[in-house]
Point group: C2
Chain length 401, copies 2
């Protein structure tokens, strides 16, 4: 399935990198030795870095398979994920357009890896608690791999997302949010299904999944070199962590000489990562207010996010819905229609406007088709008489030549 | 804007290749010398083929810019269109997934070229009659290029498509279908806007636009070699023509030694290209029945389609909605969610099942988000009690391990 054999050799605790576990089976509840009822620590994947080919950054290949040496074994078949374009927004700012993935979000990079974990674990199916991009992406990769998929979703989805979530043949069960966790546990226990969403009080998620996001960093470096900063829409921080780990690996390997500063961009209505950093704790819980950025609207963070900011010398940013909408409009005016959550990277850049040496990359995670309100209504007809059309054009500032 | 200077040197009539016009301005009503009230003949673009670099197929580059030598001058800024993956469906069949473009359809390849034509013609804006992918894509490229855009749409759009069409700041005017043509003419005349949709009784469309589709052929050859056959969802036949021209150019240049057989795949409820081929005429008009494949539901064809089939030794195919839905489901079961119209390529392959030597490529033009019915309704909640969930799972054939 992949161009090069995976060099993955173990799982290791993010709380204490001396604590290692075998690569198989992929851990589904974080690091058991360091986690407690009060704190959940994730694990990540360790590689045999000495064996990484010297031409790692320049060798031919496409999508995730191009980077398979530094990914978990890609047992799940590809849908052609990754290889997304960097769109030049001017003034040294680039948009990494993740809406160009197989299910039109960054989650495809993660789910090629989570479904590979499920296949390697010998599970007959996967179960995922998600109401959006993650659930649909997991369903797509499960379908592609011939695994069944159960999605514990929500009845309150934007209507176009409801169609999306149901498109890939998964069993979609909309249940109240508080029922998702116990139902996931029970489906794991009684059906032997592999969970590809979180099962711990603070987020630990999948051990394999965030590895897929490292490829965002690899692609940026291969195309642009090391940027000065990267602004990342941040929910549970898996994307942030993966991108940071990718840049760090390249520096450790001597393929680059520095890493970019990472900025996490969370909705101001919540912002557990910003709160954890402020409090100096690995993870925390915050009350969550109303925001249309439902894709990154999280009550808890993961220790992954804290690590990613620390290791890159970066900062947590908070953006409100007005800033998100302004960034979304700025992108639409450049011909790029993204989900409100996906505009958080650019919103963070515009809000913080830090001094950055070198190019800046904002990650846009997903397509505008997934937004709240999309598909809720059609278009009202207009009177086709020329005077009426002229009036419409004039109101929009369009006048005869 | 582009990697290599364009070798475009003239426009030429498709009715008589000895009839040439200067490259600028791009003709907007087909070939004036051969067209009449009874027949409309398109023009295409001719290049200085002697100057094409020998490494044309293998040189580095991304998206459309990689192929800029054999495209019209790419004056419009890129959104990172093209470079879409070929997804392996097994048994020698590949899907060219055009939903991976900037506005999630093949139309982006065309509209980088149509908006380049508008810029080169010095127009202050563009006008487009379209209710779907073409209109939204044109709006995106116009926005990116700093041109205004008027979309003459329809009030009967799928609701998610209504949001899509409105996303890029265009003035969207939903009017009855029969009003679109006279309004386009008047906006062209009185506002100096450049039309990027058709203005002739039979379809001629843009002279520059279909050139963008040649890149589908170039990418297929660069990745896979020359396939045995290509199955193309067909409306007015611009995509079919562009793909055919791309393969033919590579053979003329001696970079390949053959061309694939092309199959046009139209909805059985209309099928003007199939009718024109049957009647032995360059173009015809057919009554159009009900189909959900609204993206390729056309009452007239273009001479382009007839030429593309003739030159490749291909055949016109007709598919009904049941065959389209079966192909759409087959793709969803592989993790690929496409619009019903976009499934026409695979539907044509499954229906015709011709003997083909070598790999087969089916083009899927667009994302499932654009389909009729998407976004029309949310998900009904289910009872989260375990017995109820068990019942749901059991009904879907999922049983405890």
């Amino acid at each position: 399935m992949s161009d090069t054999a995976s060099l993955a050799q173990a799982q290791r605790s993010l709380a204490d990198p001396d604590i290692r576990y075998p690569l198989w089976p992929p851990l589904i509840r974080g690091c058991p030795r360091t986690s407690s009822a009060d704190m959940s620590y994730p694990v990540d994947v360790e590689y045999d870095y000495a064996q990484v080919p010297a031409d790692f950054l320049t060798r031919a290949g496409s999508g995730l398979d191009r980077w398979s040496a530094l990914l978990p074994p890609l047992l799940a078949p590809s849908l052609g994920e990754g290889g997304t374009p960097l769109v030049d927004l001017g003034e040294g700012v680039y948009l990494k357009d993740e809406s160009r993935n197989p299910t039109w979000s960054h989650k495809d990079r993660l789910n090629r890896c989570t479904v590979s974990a499920a296949l390697g674990a010998g599970a007959p199916g996967i179960v995922v608690a998600s109401s959006g991009n993650h659930g649909a992406s997991a369903a797509a990769y499960a379908a592609r791999a011939g695994l069944r998929c159960v999605v514990l979703g929500s009845a309150g989805l934007p209507p176009a997302v409801a169609s999306f979530l149901s498109a890939y043949g998964a069993v979609v069960l909309p249940v109240p949010a508080e029922e998702r966790w116990p139902l996931t546990e029970r489906i794991v226990e009684e059906f032997g299904y592999f969970p590809v969403s979180n099962l711990t009080p603070f987020h630990t998620g999948s051990s394999f999944g965030p590895e897929g996001y490292k490829t965002v960093a690899y692609e940026i470096v291969a195309e642009l070199g090391v940027p000065g900063a990267v602004f990342v829409p941040t929910g549970y921080g898996e994307l942030l962590f993966g991108i940071g780990k990718g840049f760090a690996e390249l520096r450790e390997l001597g393929l680059t000489d520095r890493v970019p500063r990472l900025y996490s961009c969370e909705p101001r209505t919540g912002g557990p990562l910003a709160a954890a950093v402020r409090q100096g704790v690995p993870a925390t819980r915050v009350p969550v207010g109303a925001t249309d950025a439902y894709g990154i609207d999280c009550p808890v963070n993961s220790y992954r996010g804290v690590l990613a900011l620390e290791r890159s010398g970066g900062d947590p940013l908070l953006v409100d819905d007005a800033q998100l909408k302004a960034a979304q409009s700025e992108l639409a005016a450049q011909g790029l229609w993204c989900e409100l959550s996906a505009a958080a990277g650019l919103a963070g850049l515009r809000a913080a406007a830090p001094e950055v040496e070198g190019p800046v990359v904002c990650v846009a995670t997903s397509s505008g088709f997934k937004d709240v309100g999309v598909g809720g209504h059609g278009l009202a007809p207009v009177d086709p008489a020329w005077e009426s059309v002229l009036g419409r054009l004039s109101a929009a500032g369009i006048r005869p030549a």
